[in-house]
Symmetry: C2
Subunit: 182 residues, 2 copies
């Protein structure tokens, strides 16, 4: 099973590809798509779409994982992020891919064992769990982290294990608890 | 000169096509793209993109006009609108089209002579100025209005006339004033 993780952004969209085989994760590729900063928005989004289409053609993923948007930012930044996200999701939809979404806390919990891990901790843990020679750039690390999270949850599901968010703990700030499905 | 106006939305995206010839406007086509409501977002955006690509293939516009987003809505609705808008703009960028953006007040002023005209007044004036047999649906009327606005401003520019927003009037709420360019 080949999983593509994406971290959409208008200036930089990270992607990461990995394979899950017999419960093991294997790194395939990662990178950051950066449209030319000076170009008009439609051209930048078109460049982003083209880059993503090349990633899909090169790696042919079976599943895609994207970080859920945490909408507490300003309407202006929600619009800007939404535009990049919409361009990305349309390409994935056209390719007939199912897109799984995970909250930022869930992804950090999956990768670093701590829902409030900082960016450097995520980068370090992504590097370690995929045995990379170098620490991936921020956006690519976030994309790989989303893919790892999807692989991990798929593995748990295969084992008959479910995960739920324990809202009773610490005033609902949320930690993930793994339990056997009934 | 063939102008495409678009009113992007996640549930309904209006479009309208018109020709400007010798200062006259001629209606070509209009409609509303409505992705299947129950489908997942990536599939709905892909349907929207496909519909828009068919409009571009059928009508081959020279220019595109889109309403500027008025970002005072909630971050959630800005995200939702941004996603539809991003999918649309990426298609236009990939087609090499320049996208002109106009504020809602400017468009209403162009079409209905009143920056605070309501939706029905815009629909009525769009119908009248393009001599349509029927009143176009809301989203299509807004798209045609953006196209009319672009055609109108192109005509003014050809006459050597500029437009500026007179911020001194009524506490900067803004009305449009046409004057000869110096």
């Amino acid at each position: 099973m080949r999983i593509l993780g994406i971290d959409p952004g208008s200036n930089a969209t990270g992607y990461g590809v990995l394979d899950r085989e017999d419960g093991q994760l294997r790194h395939v590729a990662h990178g950051v798509l950066r449209p030319r900063p000076g170009a008009a928005l439609p051209q930048r989004l078109a460049t982003l779409v083209q880059g993503l289409e090349e990633v899909l053609t090169a790696h042919r993923p079976d599943a895609v994982a994207v970080e859920q948007v945490f909408v507490s930012a300003s309407p202006r930044s929600a619009l800007v992020l939404g535009q990049a996200r919409g361009a990305v999701l349309a390409v994935l939809g056209a390719a007939g891919l199912h897109v799984a979404e995970y909250g930022a806390r869930t992804i950090k919990q999956c990768v670093a064992g701590d829902g409030s891990a900082d960016k450097r901790a995520v980068q370090r843990m992504v590097r370690r769990s995929l045995e990379l020679d170098r620490t991936p750039a921020n956006d690519a690390a976030d994309a790989l982290a989303a893919a790892i999270c999807h692989a991990h949850r798929g593995r748990l599901a295969a084992l008959g294990v479910g995960a739920y968010r324990d809202r009773r703990r610490r005033g609902g700030s949320g930690s993930w608890v793994v339990r056997r499905a009934r």
